[in-house]
């Protein structure tokens, strides 16, 4: 069983989507039963879990608010709701951007902007409109599953425009975060969605799901009733080690969406071409942004430069026939070992020993080292 750190709790069937999935129109509306919510909150508190509540448009009755406020939480909600004390992330769909002016007084510095294929060209305009109203902006390309080359090209153009704006802000000392552009700059390890590994979802139907997307796919995707141990068969496949493409990738900011993986490739551990292409496009824009900001960021000497790649999808590299396996291994090892490369070997070996003494012995056995006793000239 993986180490779950938080629960995503969907407060009503029509609660806002904050990610790659669409909210299916549901016959029954209404909030999650109060009794269920009480059990979920109680479970979270007793197990040291944080909660991300996902709200819909319905304002919460008093007793719900009290329960929500009683747990360590973040509330993810559409604009127009009363921001919660725990921390609020606003979800704005591109077609609801007209609500954005109401954000002028937005106390929540965190916004998720969901953009569809038909409004991609307006992405940089939307970001401009939201400037000053967020400290962190998460951009979700909600139709990613249908992206082909034209959409990717539009994304690239839009990212260039947004990148210029971000660079200008950074030069002024305003270090805003835009997920698709700045996350990769500051990450040195994978930081993916983590569905099923770091978080599980509890839906209004009283069932566990890997994430809200699976809830909207139907109850056959449930992991069982809340209150029982979630059925997570083959859960190792949700972990990075067991994802042969992602394990060899340094697009650390990528969502690595297991829902899209399942839908497009049939396997939760295998990303689609769309996911890899977009993450690499973003990675490359981050690389260019970083290169254009040599000293604008405080502590920039600690930031590891992002190397340029000659592929836009690690799968391409993995399956290339003109490069032998050894050369591929060397490439991926050098890519993934950053910034460990800078750590003295003795320090690294000490860490290996502390983590797993057996591994150190194995490493010694595997690594040829012959004593050369010839006298030095």
């Amino acid at each position: 069983m993986p180490m779950i750190k938080y629960l995503v709790v969907i407060l009503e069937p029509a609660a806002a989507s904050f990610c790659y999935y669409d909210v299916k129109p549901v016959p029954s509306s209404g909030l999650m039963p109060l009794e269920l919510l009480r059990r979920v909150v109680d479970h979270a508190i007793r197990n040291g879990l944080h909660i991300n509540f996902v709200h819909g448009d319905s304002p919460l009755p008093e007793e719900y608010v009290r329960l929500v406020e009683s747990a360590d939480h973040i509330s993810i909600m559409p604009p127009g709701q009363n921001p919660c004390a725990g921390g609020t992330v606003l979800v704005i769909d591109d077609h609801r951007l007209e609500d954005a002016p109401a954000l002028a007084e937005n106390p929540c510095a965190n916004i998720i902007l969901r953009v569809g294929r038909d409004r991609l060209r307006q992405l940089s305009g939307m970001v401009r409109q939201l400037m000053g109203k967020f400290g962190r902006l998460n951009i979700i390309l909600k139709d990613l599953a249908q992206f082909e080359e034209p959409e990717l090209q539009i994304c690239r153009e839009q990212m260039v425009v947004i990148g210029k704006r971000v660079a200008a802000e950074y030069r002024k000392g305003n270090f805003i975060e835009i997920s698709t552009l700045t996350d990769r700059i500051f990450l040195t390890n994978m930081n993916n969605c983590g569905a099923g590994v770091e978080h599980l979802t509890v839906a209004p139907d009283g069932r566990y799901y890997l994430c809200p997307a699976f809830y909207h796919e139907g109850p056959e995707h449930s992991l069982g009733a809340f209150g029982e141990t979630p059925r997570l068969e083959n859960s190792r496949l949700l972990e990075l080690d067991y994802a042969p493409i992602c394990r060899n990738c340094d697009a650390y900011h990528c969502k690595r969406c297991i829902y899209l993986n399942r839908k497009l490739t049939g396997e939760v551990n295998t990303p689609s071409r769309q996911q890899c292409r977009i993450a690499h496009l973003e990675r490359d824009q981050s690389r260019q942004l970083l290169a254009a900001l040599p000293s604008a960021i405080d502590g920039s000497e600690k930031i590891v430069p992002i190397p340029e790649l000659d592929y836009s999808d690690p799968f391409e590299m993995l399956t290339r026939r003109d490069i032998d396996g050894g050369a591929k291994d060397r490439h991926f090892a050098s890519l993934l070992s950053r910034p460990l490369e800078a750590v003295p070997a003795s320090q690294l070996l000490l860490q290996i020993y502390q983590l797993d003494p057996g591994l150190l012995a194995k490493l010694k056995q595997m690594t040829p080292f012959a004593l050369d006793l010839k006298p030095k000239k």
């Binding site: 083959n234 496949l237 042969p244 049939g266 396997e267 295998t270 769309q274 399956t319």
Partner: protein, 387 residues
């Protein structure tokens, strides 16, 4: 060990460089073999020529998608020789299309068929063989002694098919002298293993490719019967000096070691299977009738082409991500095979990333017998050198 006194199994033509495209031309067969993957055989589902044409056009016209230097056009069924007329027409079209497109495959292609051999001597089949001799391989499946063969390879009436297959073996071997046969061993067959391999050698088949099934069929104690059979076979091959001209794939110098690489075992995904309706599969084991527990995995069809997203799991599969801790650290893992289709069929979830290891004890028994075989053979050859 390089030794000129030991025969080598024939190498597979363009093994890593060739794409294999398999057409399932019919769902019909004269036989009802107990272990056959094709359940629901019927006389009405056959491939339409138009389906084959579309698939060929797609493959030959999209050179960037299929950059392999060579191609094997493979035909299976049911029993493919029931459709020899259709196969002949498809092959003629392939040759025309490759030439018309000036495709490198025009210089580097083979046709291949796997048959039960019953119709092998029929005039239409013989004409096909004569016409395509230079770039054709045909495999005939014969399981060993009449007793072993007839245990599973039977007509709908229950009558064994040994006599009808064996009748055509001399003709087949005359036309394809280096041909090998593939034998599958299940629990019931174990007592016949040694006799069966030797019987096939005696029929003139010098290379026997044989493996135990991957499915959950093994019973307590089977590994002891298997090991005993293999030890007996080892003695008889070595004492009779059969190793000089014959090979049996149970014995290999490269098995029974810890594994250092991270490769997938089988070629699923690099191959392509086309069924009678024109659906594409990563290999025939993912077709609906080959799976007992799971839905088929299609990766496209001859009209729309391949959905390459669906192919990504197959092409990125590695040993590590599908193996348990026990298999990853196993001291005798090399040569321990798996079938991706069987893995998928038995997996706890709808995944190809979970190895079925029902043959674990059988592999370990094989490794012990294999160690014995090579130990004994090397000592024999060494003592002969000293004399």
């Amino acid at each position: 060990m390089v030794n000129q006194n030991i025969a080598k199994a024939p190498s597979v033509w363009m093994k890593s460089a060739a794409k294999t495209v398999t057409f399932m031309v019919t769902e019909d067969c004269q036989l009802r073999c107990h272990y056959c993957y094709l359940v629901g055989k019927n006389a009405h589902t056959r491939m339409d020529f138009e389906v084959a044409r579309q698939a060929i056009d797609y493959l030959v016209e999209n050179r960037d998608l299929f950059p392999e230097q060579a191609i094997v056009w493979d035909f299976i069924g049911g029993e493919p020789l029931l459709e020899i007329g259709l196969i002949d027409r498809i092959c003629a079209y392939i040759e025309y299309k490759q030439r018309q497109q000036e495709h490198p495959w025009a210089e580097s292609y083979r046709f291949s068929l796997t048959s039960n051999g019953i119709l092998y001597d029929k005039p239409a089949v013989q004409q096909f063989v004569a016409k395509n001799r230079d770039h054709l391989s045909i495999g005939i499946t014969i399981d060993g002694t009449p007793e072993k063969h007839d245990l599973h390879r039977v007509y709908p009436s229950g009558k064994g098919s040994y006599a009808d297959t064996a009748r055509n073996i001399p003709l087949w071997l005359a036309q394809f002298p280096g041909a090998s046969t593939k034998v599958t061993v299940a629990s019931d067959d174990l007592p016949h293993v040694a006799d069966s391999v030797l019987h096939l050698f005696a029929l003139g088949i010098r290379h026997v490719s044989i493996n135990v099934v991957f499915e959950d069929v093994w019973r307590e104690g089977d590994e002891r019967i298997f090991e005993k059979q293999l030890l007996e076979l080892a003695d008889r091959i070595i004492d009779g000096t059969l190793y000089a001209e014959h090979t049996c794939s149970f014995f290999s110098e490269h098995i029974g070691q810890p594994v250092q690489d991270n490769h997938n075992w089988c070629g699923t995904g690099r191959m392509l299977t086309v069924d009678c309706q024109g659906h594409f599969y990563p290999c025939h084991r993912f077709t609906p009738f080959s799976l007992a527990r799971k839905e088929a995995i299609t990766i496209g069809n001859c009209r729309d082409g391949i959905d390459f997203n669906k192919l990504r799991p197959f092409l990125s599969l590695d040993r590590f991500s599908q193996s348990s801790e026990a298999c990853r650290t196993c001291e005798v893992a090399s040569g321990c095979a798996w079938c991706q289709g069987a893995n998928y069929d038995y997996a706890d979830t709808d995944t190809i990333f979970q190895r079925a290891t029902y043959l674990c004890n059988m592999h370990k028994a094989r490794v012990r017998a294999n160690n014995y075989y090579w130990y004994k053979l090397k000592r024999k050859l060494a003592s002969e050198r000293c004399q």
